[in-house]
């Protein structure tokens, strides 16, 4: 057996894109397909340097449509395959993602959000939440992890492969330009050394034997002739999605038990919320934060429980209410007031959150 890319564990100082490449390598990914777009590029840069040394492959495609469909091809033939994109590339990739939902292809997608709409900025935003959770002509049968730190970026890149292959829904790691480009310390590790077993991959097409002789042929079709036929298919997808929901949903609730005001955020903004909450607590203000880690499936029940005793919510995100829509949908029926703090396409500091909370409390 080839030597493991990471022996045991190792303390490193890396950019987020480099972390993703190492995470995929640690997860024993076989192949990456990708197309250049900032701020995702260095995932490909690092992967294409690391890959040949570890018997892995890389293909640079002609566009993101192709990157998505080649990733589906690789996955369906039984490879642990992934791709990465951002912004307009994420828009283009919705077509293959939609097919991945229909066929339940366990492909892994890394999204490094940039500013939108259109070409906008290559820097940062949280404006690809709606697109990543519900893009495509369907019902959003995907799993979306939103990470906050480089450690999580590594952990959830590995986890994404296992969730995808266990539950057979396309799985996303949703980060952003800050996480992609920033350098910070983390521990990278061999999953096995941490007791994490990689879920084995199985080919859907191209199994051994002569089809029609040794085994039935596999005929994958994504077209349906009648409304009723499609209805049955979608019902089946929905049932499977609901079944895995409780096992997959993840959240973080900090100081919510006695909080009067709860900050709701996700991704990198969580870091500011974390600092803000500890400063507010020091100042005697009962603040906490709730953060969905899975944006799809959304941690609905934990969210309802966490906000029960609070007097108001402060929604903080680097988008014009894309997370807020998911939240409102989840806590439907609650009459808790929601204060928006929407900053589309720009970063949010702990000071700004503290200031905002103080203005709301008095």
């Amino acid at each position: 057996m080839a030597e493991k890319p990471i022996q045991g564990e190792k303390r490193v100082f890396m950019t987020g894109n480099e972390v993703v490449a190492w995470g995929a390598l640690a997860a024993q990914a076989d192949i990456m397909y990708g197309y250049p777009i900032t701020p995702q590029n260095e995932i490909m840069h690092y992967w294409s340097r690391l890959a040949p040394k570890h018997g892995k492959k890389f293909l640079q495609t002609e566009d993101e449509i192709s990157a998505g469909f080649t990733t589906i091809g690789g996955t369906i033939i039984g490879a642990r395959a992934f791709t990465g994109t951002s912004g307009p590339g994420n828009t283009l990739m919705q077509e293959p993602m939609s097919m991945a939902e229909m066929y339940r292809v366990p492909a892994v997608f890394i999204i490094q959000q940039r500013g939108g709409p259109s070409t906008a900025t290559v820097i940062y935003s949280q404006q690809e939440v709606t697109l990543t959770t519900f893009g495509g002509n369907g019902e959003g049968y995907r799993i979306v992890y939103s990470t906050a730190t480089h450690q999580e970026l590594f952990d959830y890149t590995i986890k994404a492969f296992n969730t995808a292959w266990k539950h057979r829904f396309p799985t996303f790691v949703l980060a952003d330009g800050y996480q992609a480009k920033m350098r910070e310390p983390l521990t990278i590790y061999d999953p096995e050394a941490k007791g994490i077993e990689m879920v084995p991959t199985v080919p859907t097409l191209g199994k051994e034997g002569v089809p029609g002789v040794d085994r039935p042929p596999v005929h994958m079709t994504n077209t349906r002739n009648t409304e009723e036929e499609l209805y049955e298919v979608v019902k089946g997808l929905q049932a499977a999605y609901e079944e895995m929901w409780p096992e997959v949903e993840e959240h973080e609730a900090v100081e919510c038990e006695d909080a009067e005001i709860i900050i709701v955020c996700h991704g990198v903004v969580t870091r500011s919320a974390r600092v803000a909450v500890s400063q507010l607590r020091e100042a005697g203000i009962k603040a906490g934060y709730f953060r969905p880690i899975t944006l799809r499936p959304f941690p609905v029940e934990p969210m309802k429980q966490s906000i029960k005793g609070a007097k108001q919510l402060l929604m903080v995100e680097s988008a014009q209410g894309q997370l807020a829509r998911l939240v409102k949908d989840s806590i439907y029926g609650s009459t808790i007031p929601i204060e928006p703090m929407f900053r589309p396409g720009i970063g949010i500091s702990s000071e700004e959150i503290v200031e905002k909370v103080q203005s709301l409390i008095k």
Binding site: L59, F69, I72, I77, E208, T223
Partner: protein
């Protein structure tokens, strides 16, 4: 030698008669492909991808693992499969709209990268499944649903010369040909050579098959055949455009 009129061995009998319209050329292209697969004895290694459009009706045609994709996206799906599992034989089956319009970037780049896959493109000069719109291959002056007064070449250009384009952008080692359902034995041999090219790993392989669509041409049997044999061949020259050099 008589041409075999029985079904190819790799055809799936349970799904015959097939779903194409009477007089459609798709069944003939798939017969040529089936015979080529039989002769090469590769049924267990083939992964077949079919495009959206009338090509999608081929998804359960063979006793071969098959994936129906999206319109224009069969080339990248098969490319992804082949890259991950080079021991499989990837066949991308598509129409002229899928290959030369919506998926043309995939065809061009797969050819330019010399992907070791086989693309088979059915050219019947129209969009069949969507109801007879103008295709990249519609002949000058030809009436379709979106060129009701005849294709106006000053506005919409000339029919795409697919194999000529692919031949121009592939390197030595690739196989490029244009066959016709009017010459089935020749078409079968072309497809066979294309698959042999993939197996040898020398380069991209591409076969365009001139085919019939009586439904959207609104032609009877006689006129269907004469359009295929007399009209289409004026624009689309049948023959091999690129053949890998024989090994010494």
């Amino acid at each position: 030698m008589e041409f075999d009129i029985s079904m190819p061995k790799c055809w799936r009998r349970e799904t015959k008669g097939h779903k194409f319209c009477p007089g459609c050329g798709h069944g003939l292209v798939l017969k040529a492909l089936g015979l080529a697969i039989d002769e090469l004895q590769i049924q267990d290694r083939v992964v077949f991808g079919c495009d959206i459009g009338c090509s999608l009706l081929a998804y359960d045609f063979f006793n071969v693992d098959t994936m129906q994709t999206h319109h224009g996206r069969t080339t990248p799906v098969i490319t992804g499969i082949k890259r991950a599992r080079p021991d499989r034989i990837g066949i991308a089956y598509m129409g002229d709209g899928g290959g030369y319009a919506i998926g043309s970037q995939h065809l061009v780049n797969a050819a330019a990268r010399n992907e070791r896959i086989t693309a088979i493109l059915v050219n019947n000069t129209v969009y069949g499944m969507t109801g007879g719109q103008m295709a990249p291959t519609t002949l000058p002056g030809m009436k379709t649903e979106t060129s009701p007064y005849g294709r106006e070449i000053s506005q919409t250009g000339y029919p795409t010369q697919g194999p000529e384009m692919v031949a121009a952008i592939t390197r030595e080692g690739a196989y490029v040909a244009r066959g016709t359902v009017g010459k089935l034995s020749q078409l079968k041999n072309m497809i066979k050579k294309a698959l042999e090219t993939q197996i040898a790993g020398t380069g991209f392989s591409f076969v365009e098959a001139l085919s019939t669509c009586p439904t959207n041409w609104s032609t009877n049997a006689k006129d269907t055949w004469s359009f295929l044999e007399d009209e289409m061949t004026k624009y689309f020259k049948v023959g091999e455009l690129k053949v890998p050099a024989k090994e010494e």
